[in-house]
C-alpha cells in the first residue's frame, strides 16, 4: 500500500517537474528523469558526479522568452520596487528589461516559506539554510542550470555548492547573500553598547521584561550559541546539531528567558513597532528592521555579540512546479547581478553574494562593514540550517534532535 | 363592613390623553361586577389600577377600606386573570398554579394540595403535568383562573378573559365562571366589551364611555332604564329620540329612548289602546330575524323609528307600505345626552 502510494507520489512530482521545463526533453527514459528529480536526497554513497545539466532533461538548457510575470516568496526587504522607499528599487529595472511582472509574497519565517512553497503556486523563493534542505527533500524545488545565469560566475566561491544549496555537486539555486542575526538594544537604556546575548537570556538583564524574541523554533539555536560560550562543558560545536542533553539545556535556558520576555515577534513589523514604541529594549533582530525603525526615529542600535550569532545564507531557488521558469531564471540572474545585489545587500544589511557588488555599494565600506569577503568573520556565524537526526557536526555515537522535535519543543515552550 | 373595592375620584392620564376621568365606584363584597364599555373607554385601565399595574394620576383606591393607591401589585390581596392568560410557558400547569403559593412560602405539601383542589374546581384534575402549550384555549383559560384563585384573593380581576374563545366555548365558560364565583364566594371584577356577556353574568354593571362612568346598576336597571343615550345605545339596541322628535311624537321636549321590542304594529284604523302613543310612517326596511323581525319606519314629518315585532304580525307589510306604530307611554324614557352617543 505504502510503497504504491509513494511511487505514485514520486511519479506525480516528476510529472510536475517535467511539465514546467521550458525546453522539451530529448528521448531519454522518463523513469530516469523521475528518479533523479524526485529523490535527490537518496544519497546512496554515490560518487560525486558532474551536474547532470544536459543529460537528464530536468533542467533547461536554454532560456525562452519571459512569460510576462513571476511569483516570488521572499524575505521582507529582498524584493523592493520603490514602494517602501522610492530610492530603493531593483525590481522596476528588472521588469522593464525582461517584461516579467514581479509579484511578491513576503514570508515571515522559513517555516512559512516551506509551507507556501508546498502549495506549488510560486515560481521561486529566497530560502534560508533551514528551509533549503526541506524544500529539496520535499521535491518543491528543482536543480538549476547555472550556465543560464551568467552572474553566477562572480559569486563568492565559499558560497557556492554548499551543503545547504546543493546536492551531490548539483546546485539548487543561486546564493543571494549572508548576514548575522544581531542583538538590538535601546540606546537610552544602554548608554554603552552591550556585547553579550546575556542581555536576552539572564534574568538580571537590564532589559528584563522587555526582551524581544524571534518566534520560531530555529531560535533554539540562538540559545545553543550562547551555551557554546557559557557552558562549554556541554560540548556544543554546532548549534543545529544538538543531542538530547544539549537540546534540553537550550530549552532550559529558553524557559529561563521566558520570564523576562516582553514580546515574541513573528512579523518583522511587530518588532519594528515595539522598537519604535520603546516596549522592546533588547532583542534579536535583522539589520533591515533596525534600518526601518531607525528611519522612524527609534533610539536603537545593533551589534553582533562576542558569543557569535546565528545567521543566514540565503539562496534563490526555483520551484519544481514553476509556471514561469524563464522569468524565474531571469530573476535569479538579476538579483545576483553586481548592481542589484549591491543594492539589496545594503538595504537589507547583509554581505552581498557577488564579488563585483562591493565596488558598487553606495557606502564604499559596506563590504568591509559586513565582512563580505572575510572568511574569518563568518566562522562564528551559524547559518540557519535544518537540524536532522544525523548529527551535522559529524558525531555518530549519538543521534541529534531533528527539526520536528524542535518544533514540538518550541510549541511546548510557547504554550 | 367596608366595600371590597372603592375608587374615589380616580384619574389616569397618559401624556395628554385622559384615559380615566374622575371615576368614583364602589364594589361590594361577593359581587360579580362588570366593567362594560367599548375599547378605549378606560375600563381596562381602571382594572389595571385596581390590580396595581398602573398608578393613578389622581384620586384614591381602597381595598376593604384600606388605601392601596401606591401599594405595589405584589402587596395587594388581589389576583388577575389576563386577557392572553399569561401562563408561564416554562412551567407545568401544576407549577403555574403553585407559583403564587411558592412565592409566599407556603409549605410544599399544602401547596400541592391547594393547587390540586383548585385544578379540580376548574375541572382540570389530571392535567397538572402538562405544559401550557399542550392545552386548548379553554383549558388555558381555566389554568389562569386556578392560578389566580388558589391565592384566595379578596377580589379577582378578569380582563376580557373570554375574548379569545370561540362562541360556543365562551357561552360554556360564562356559565362556568358564574358557578365558580358562587362556589368560592369571591368578589369578581370582570372587564368586557360584550354587553350580552355583562348582562347575563353580572350582579351589577358599570358602563364606561370616554374615561367616565355613564351608569352603574343591575343588568335590569341598565337595560330597562338606561340613564344616558350612550347606555341606551350600547346596551342592547334602542331608538334615540332627540328633543325635537320627542316633542313631536311624545309631546315632551327632552331626549328619550325607546326599546324596539316595546314598539308594536297597529292597524291604520285600529283604536289606540289606553296609555299608549302612536305614530304613522312608511316602512323602509324589513329584516327577518326568525321569530322576530326588525322594521324600520320613516315617520311622517321626519325621524326614524325601529320596531321589533313578531314575524307573524308582519304579514303583508313590505318595503314602502304605510304602517302605524304604537307603544306604551311609559316605555319612552327620558335620558341624559351623552357626550358621545353610540
Amino acid at each position: 500500500m505504502t510503497t504504491t502510494h509513494r511511487s505514485l507520489r514520486r511519479l506525480l512530482a516528476g510529472a510536475a517537474v517535467l511539465s514546467v521545463v521550458a525546453v522539451a526533453c530529448g528521448g531519454d527514459d522518463d523513469d530516469a528523469a523521475v528518479t533523479t528529480t524526485a529523490a535527490p536526497v537518496a544519497t546512496d554513497a554515490a560518487p560525486e558526479t558532474d551536474p547532470p545539466v544536459d543529460d537528464t532533461g530536468t533542467m533547461p538548457t536554454e532560456l525562452g522568452a519571459g512569460e510576462g510575470e513571476v511569483n516570488l516568496i521572499a524575505w521582507a526587504g529582498y524584493v523592493e520596487d520603490g514602494s517602501t522607499d522610492p530610492a530603493v528599487d531593483w525590481v522596476t529595472p528588472f521588469e522593464e528589461a525582461t517584461g516579467c511582472q514581479v509579484n511578491v509574497q513576503l514570508g515571515n519565517s522559513s517555516d512559512e516559506m516551506v509551507q507556501l512553497m508546498q502549495t506549488g503556486e510560486y515560481d521561486g523563493v529566497s530560502a534560508s539554510g533551514d528551509a533549503t534542505l526541506r524544500l529539496i527533500a520535499g521535491g518543491e524545488v528543482a536543480p538549476v542550470n547555472t550556465d543560464l545565469i551568467p552572474n553566477y560566475a562572480d559569486v563568492f566561491p565559499d558560497l557556492k555548492l554548499q551543503k545547504h544549496n546543493s546536492v551531490e555537486g548539483v546546485p539548487y539555486g543561486v546564493p543571494h547573500g549572508r548576514g548575522a542575526n544581531l542583538l538590538v538594544y535601546n540606546t537610552d537604556l544602554y548608554t554603552t553598547a552591550p556585547d553579550s546575548w546575556g542581555e536576552m537570556f539572564e534574568t538580571d538583564s537590564a532589559a528584563a521584561g522587555s526582551v524581544s524574541v524571534y518566534d520560531s523554533p530555529i531560535y533554539i539555536a540562538d540559545a545553543a550559541v550562547y551555551l557554546m560560550s557559557t557552558q562549554p562543558e556541554l560540548g556544543i560545536t554546532n548549534p543545529y546539531s544538538l543531542d538530547q542533553t544539549q537540546f534540553d539545556a537550550a530549552m532550559a535556558l529558553l524557559e529561563q528567558q521566558k520570564g523576562i520576555v516582553g514580546q515574541y515577534w513573528a512579523l518583522y513589523t511587530d518588532q519594528q513597532a515595539a522598537l519604535e514604541g520603546g516596549t522592546a529594549l533588547a532583542g534579536t533582530t535583522w539589520q533591515v528592521i533596525v534600518n526601518l525603525a531607525k528611519a522612524n526615529g527609534a533610539k536603537i542600535d545593533a551589534v553582533k555579540p562576542v558569543e557569535g550569532a546565528t545567521g543566514w545564507s540565503d539562496t534563490w531557488m526555483i520551484s519544481s512546479k514553476a509556471a514561469h521558469p524563464n522569468c524565474m531564471y531571469m530573476w535569479m540572474d538579476h538579483i545576483i547581478s553586481p548592481q542589484a545585489n549591491a543594492e539589496v545587500a545594503e538595504w537589507f544589511g547583509e554581505a552581498p553574494a557577488n564579488t563585483a557588488s562591493c565596488d558598487l555599494t553606495a557606502d564604499p565600506d559596506h563590504c568591509s562593514t559586513y565582512h563580505a569577503g572575510e572568511t574569518d568573520y563568518w566562522t562564528d556565524v551559524w547559518y540557519w540550517t535544518t537540524p536532522e537526526e544525523t548529527c551535522l557536526d559529524g558525531r555518530t555515537d549519538v543521534t541529534c534532535v531533528p527539526y520536528t522535535e524542535w518544533v514540538n519543543a518550541w510549541n511546548g515552550l510557547r504554550s | 363592613m367596608s366595600a371590597a373595592v372603592q375608587l374615589v375620584a380616580v384619574r389616569k392620564t397618559f401624556g395628554d390623553v385622559v384615559a380615566v376621568d374622575d371615576v368614583d365606584l364602589t364594589i361590594d363584597n361577593g359581587e360579580f361586577f362588570s366593567l362594560l364599555g367599548p375599547s378605549g373607554s378606560g375600563k381596562t385601565t381602571v382594572l389595571r389600577m385596581i390590580a396595581g399595574f398602573e398608578e393613578p394620576s389622581g384620586g384614591a383606591i381602597l381595598l376593604e377600606g384600606i388605601d392601596v393607591t401606591h401599594v405595589a401589585p405584589y402587596d395587594r390581596d388581589i389576583n388577575t386573570v389576563f386577557q392572553d392568560y399569561a401562563l408561564f410557558p416554562h412551567m407545568t400547569v401544576q407549577q403555574n398554579v403553585e407559583y403564587g403559593l411558592k412565592v409566599k412560602r407556603v409549605p410544599k405539601a399544602e401547596r400541592r394540595q391547594r393547587a390540586g383542589e383548585m385544578l379540580d374546581v376548574v375541572r382540570l384534575g389530571g392535567f397538572g403535568e402538562r405544559r401550557p402549550n399542550q392545552l386548548s384555549g379553554g383549558q388555558r383559560q381555566r389554568v389562569a383562573l386556578a392560578r389566580a384563585l388558589v391565592n384566595r384573593p379578596s377580589v379577582l380581576l378578569l380582563d376580557e378573559p373570554l375574548g379569545a374563545l370561540d362562541l360556543k366555548l365562551r357561552e360554556e365558560m360564562q356559565t362556568e365562571l358564574k358557578a365558580i364565583q358562587r362556589e368560592v364566594g369571591i368578589t369578581f371584577v370582570f372587564v368586557t366589551h360584550d354587553q350580552g356577556e355583562a348582562l347575563s353574568m353580572s350582579s351589577r354593571i358599570a358602563v364606561f364611555n370616554q374615561g367616565q362612568i355613564e351608569q352603574v346598576g343591575s343588568p335590569v336597571e341598565i337595560y330597562e332604564h338606561p340613564a344616558t343615550s350612550f347606555v341606551a345605545g350600547f346596551v342592547g339596541t334602542s331608538n334615540l329620540l332627540d328633543a325635537e322628535l320627542s316633542a313631536r311624537v311624545l309631546g315632551a321636549s327632552a331626549p328619550h329612548t325607546l326599546r324596539p321590542e316595546r314598539v308594536s304594529l297597529l292597524g291604520l284604523d285600529d283604536p289606540l289602546p289606553d296609555g299608549s302613543l302612536a305614530a304613522t310612517g312608511q316602512a323602509v326596511d324589513v329584516q327577518y330575524l326568525g321569530s322576530f323581525s326588525r322594521l324600520r319606519v320613516h315617520l311622517d314629518g321626519g325621524g326614524v323609528l325601529v320596531a321589533s315585532v313578531a314575524s307573524d304580525a308582519l304579514a303583508g307589510v313590505s318595503d314602502g307600505a304605510r304602517v302605524r306604530l304604537s307603544w306604551p307611554s311609559d316605555a319612552a324614557l327620558v335620558v341624559a345626552t351623552s357626550s358621545s352617543p353610540i
Binding site: V41, G209, D270, G278, T386, N408, G412 | G100, R147, A148
Partner: protein, 291 residues
C-alpha cells in the same frame, strides 16, 4: 418557458430539488467534506525531512495532541478564557439588553440598538490594534513607551497578558451576546411580568423565576457565539499580548506553519470536540430555537 413553468408546477418536488440541489450539494462537499478531510489528515504521518504528510497512517498525532500536558494546558487555558469572556459578556449584556428593551424610551431604543451594533462595522484588526494601543504601558525602565489610554487616564494598565486577551475578546464579541438577549427580552410578553407580580412575586423574584428561565435559550444562543469565537481566535490574543499568550488557535496556526499539517489537524480536533459538546449542551437549553 411557459411549458417549463407548467412542468415545474406539476413536479414541485423536482423543481425544489433543482433549486436547492446545487447549494445543498455544495454545502455538503465544502463543509462536511473539508471537515472529514481534516479529521482524516490528522492520521497521516509527517515526513520529518520534507515536512510533508505521507500516506502512512499513524495515531501519533492524535496521541501527541491529546496526551501532551503542555498542549492540554493550552486547551484548558483557552477554554478558561472562553468561559471567562462568555461570563463577562453575559454580565454586561444582561443589564444592557434589559435597559434597551424595557427601560429606555422608545425613541432612545433605536439609537441604542444602533450604537450596540456599530462596533461590528469596524474592522476586526482595527479593534485589535486599538486595544493594543489602549493597553500600552506608559514607561518601562524610565523609557517613554507612549503609554495608552488606560495608562493616561487611570495611571494603570493590565499590560499585554491574559487580562488583555479577556478584555479585547469580551469587547469584540459583546454584541453577539447582547443581541439575542435583547431579542429574547423583546419577545417576553409583558403580561407574564404582571402575572408574576400579581400573585405576589417581588421584582427580583420575577426576574429570577420568570425572566431568567425564559431567557435561557437566548443566553445560550449568545454564549455559543462568544464561546466559540473566543475559543477559535488567534489573531487578537497574539496582537494584544505581543505574542506572549498562546491559545489553541495560535497552537494550530503555529503547527500548521511549522509546517506540520497532520499535527495541526489533530490539534483542530480539540476545539471541534469542545464546540460539539458545547453545542449539544446548549441545544438542551433550547438555544437553537432562539437564533
Amino acid at each position: 418557458m411557459r411549458a417549463l413553468g407548467r412542468f415545474m408546477r406539476r413536479h414541485r418536488r423536482l423543481s425544489l430539488a433543482s433549486v436547492l440541489g446545487a447549494p445543498v450539494a455544495w454545502m455538503l462537499v465544502i463543509y462536511i467534506g473539508s471537515l472529514a478531510f481534516m479529521v482524516v489528515s490528522a492520521f497521516f504521518r509527517l515526513d520529518g525531512l520534507s515536512q510533508k504528510p505521507t500516506n502512512e497512517l499513524t495515531g501519533d498525532n492524535i496521541k501527541t495532541a491529546f496526551t501532551t500536558w503542555t498542549y492540554v494546558e493550552v486547551v484548558l487555558k483557552s477554554v478558561g478564557v472562553a468561559v471567562v469572556v462568555t461570563t463577562l459578556c453575559f454580565v454586561i449584556a444582561l443589564p444592557a439588553a434589559f435597559y434597551i428593551s424595557k427601560v429606555a424610551a422608545p425613541w432612545a431604543r433605536r439609537g441604542l440598538i444602533v450604537a450596540m451594533l456599530l462596533p461590528l462595522w469596524a474592522g476586526y484588526l482595527v479593534k485589535g490594534y486599538a486595544w493594543k494601543a489602549m493597553l500600552r504601558p506608559g514607561s518601562e525602565f524610565g523609557i517613554d513607551t507612549g503609554g495608552g489610554f488606560l495608562n493616561a487616564t487611570f495611571g494603570w494598565t493590565p499590560g499585554f497578558g491574559w487580562i488583555a486577551v479577556v478584555l479585547a475578546e469580551s469587547y469584540l464579541w459583546l454584541p453577539y451576546m447582547i443581541l439575542p438577549i435583547y431579542a429574547g427580552l423583546d419577545r417576553l410578553p409583558p403580561s407574564l411580568l404582571d402575572a408574576s407580580g400579581d400573585v405576589g412575586a417581588r421584582p427580583m423574584r420575577t426576574f429570577r423565576s420568570i425572566v431568567m428561565p425564559l431567557l435561557v435559550p437566548a443566553i445560550a444562543a449568545g454564549s455559543i457565539f462568544t464561546f466559540s469565537l473566543t475559543l477559535g481566535d488567534f489573531i487578537t490574543p497574539n496582537l494584544v499580548t505581543e505574542g506572549k499568550v498562546q491559545m489553541i488557535g495560535n497552537l494550530i496556526q503555529r503547527t500548521l506553519g511549522a509546517p506540520n499539517q497532520p499535527l495541526a489537524a489533530a490539534f483542530t480536533l480539540w476545539p471541534l470536540l469542545i464546540v460539539i459538546v458545547y453545542l449539544a449542551g446548549m441545544k438542551r437549553l433550547g438555544a437553537f430555537e432562539s437564533i
